[in-house]
Structures are given as structure tokens and as C-alpha cells.
Symmetry: C2
Subunit: 160 residues, 2 copies
Amino acid sequence: MTRGSVDMNFLFSLGELQRLVRAYADKQAARYGITRAQWAVLAKVERSEGMKQTELAELMEMQPITLTRLIDKLCDNGWIERRGDDSDRRVNRLYLRKAARPLLGKLSGLRSELTATALEGINPADAHRLLAQLEAIKENVRNAIQNTADEPPKKEPRYG
Amino acid sequence: MTRGSVDMNFLFSLGELQRLVRAYADKQAARYGITRAQWAVLAKVERSEGMKQTELAELMEMQPITLTRLIDKLCDNGWIERRGDDSDRRVNRLYLRKAARPLLGKLSGLRSELTATALEGINPADAHRLLAQLEAIKENVRNAIQNTADEPPKKEPRYG
DNA sequence: TAGAATTCATAAGCTAGCTTATTATATCGC
DNA sequence: GCGATATAATAAGCTAGCTTATGAATTCTA
């Protein structure tokens, strides 16, 4: 029950768990011709259409270029589309296409299935607390990255 | 507090957390000329020298080919070495080299730092329970993968 | 003891992360 | 208004996952 035993395991345990979950979710999602990474993007677009790519990348804790490639695939498959912004021609905004609807229905069911499988034996209250703790850790790490990033900020950011 | 809200978040939350942690740990580990993935391998070899590559791959929930590449890097840097097995010439067994010692000391400190940062604000008992739950989930997913994998097993496995 | 099946390590080629650099557009300061 | 600076999206090239395939060595079966 010491901090030491946590030291030993947390960092790498998380990685091992993620590898397993990724493998499992990818294999299941492949039945619908989509990968887990692409699915995550699609689900965010479903939840709030009209986002800019940079906004979505930040929301997903990933780099814009990584998101660009995933969006390419989703567009190729006709599930979403990029539309130019009227007042800023640099910007693409993301929208669902009709063809995504049946897929989204199936994926919703799959998500419930996968979550139930992963969390089997953990009661809902514990599962809920676990989720909250993961979010808290996310916030801790996000802050740590921020703080180590801006060591010598020569100027204030200009706008944005 | 419903199962529904967990459905909404667990699968993708885990991925987002992992991206953040990976980015942070990689950036810190880079100070010592090593990546987080290579570090995980090195730490396992430290903990039990003489393992076969297949054993280690299974322990780390990764495919043997993935491990092969990481071991290549660790060997190139002179931190570990492959030694042939006397009784089975297919097998490589993994051992630390002396050059790894100072690095391992620094990495041990770094691991404590990173874990403390990530788990800040979570008391040790909660952290310990969290770890246990992650391990339980790992086991659930491992079983699920096993069960979906062997649908039509035409023959019993022969040996091993 | 010879052929079939299995296992260990690795190769080739894909997805999804990343950093750094580029191009186009937008905003700020003067 | 114009030049410097900032931002949005993307390109090129790396790491680390994966699947599928291959070569060498081992073990089983008959």
C-alpha cells in the first residue's frame, strides 16, 4: 500500500492497458471498416458539428497534423466533409455526411459492448469514480506539459 | 452516475490520457536519450534478466516483432545484449550491459517524478485502488481477446 | 528417423502518434 | 496601407504499434 508500489507500475501499466484496449477495439471496429482512431474523430464530430480542425485536435489531445490524416480517411470514406469558413479562408469546418448515420448507430452499440467488457466486475459507482480519476490525471499531465513548455517566453502571445 | 455516462467516455478517455502521458514521458525521457517505449523494455529486462524475447513480448502485451525493433535500439545503444540459448538455437535471451547502470538510476528517479506528477491530488489508497482496477480491466480485455480469437480451433495445440 | 507441424526471431508494409518545416491567410503595429 | 508576426492546414520523415509472411531450428508423429 506504499507510494513505492505505485511508482513501480502506474506509468507502464497504463501503456500496457492501452495496447490491449487498442488491439481489442481496433479488431472489433474493423468489422465496420473503421479504425478506433478514426472512430474517435467521427464520434467527436457527431457530438459537435462545425468545429475547426485545430479545435478538435486540442479537444482530442492530439497534434493537428495527426488529426489531418485521420480526417483524410473519414472524408475518403464519405462519412464527414470539410467545409470552408466564410470569414476565414484558412479554416476548415467539419460536418457529418448522411452516409455516416447507419455506421454511427452500429458504433454506438459497439461502444457499449466494449465498455461493458472492459469494466466487467467493477460496479457503476466505482466505474464512475475511475473515470473521474482518469480525467483528474489528464488534467495534471496537461498542466505539467504546459508548465515545462513555456520556460523562456520571450513575448506575450499576440492574439487568440 | 449511470452506466450510460461511462459508456460515453471510458473508451476514448483512456486513449486521450495515454496520448498525453506518452507525450509527457517521452519528452522527459528524451533528456537521457531514450524513448518511453524503449525505457519500458529496459525496465523489464532489469527486473528479470535472461528472458526470451517471446516471454517478454507476452509480458508487455505486445507483438514479438514490435519488441524486436525496440530491442534493436537498446542493443545499438549498448544498454542490453542478446545471448543465444545453449539448448535452443532459435532463442535469444536478454541481459543488461554495464553501460545501462547509470541510466537505470536516473530513470528510476524520473519514474517517481512522473508518477507523482500524474497522480497529484489522489491519495495513496485511492492511487493503489486505481492501479488495481487498471489491472482488473487489463485482465478483462485479455480474456475477451482470447475468447474472440479462438472461434474455430481445428486442433488442439501440440506442445508448449 | 523422416516428414509434418510448431515455435522463435525477423522482414515488409500498414496505421497512428510525433517534430519540424512550408504555404496561405489573417491580424497587429506603425 | 505595409511589413512583421501569428495562425490554419498540410507535407516530410521519424517512432512504435499492428498483420501477414519467411527462414531456421525444434519437437511431434508415425
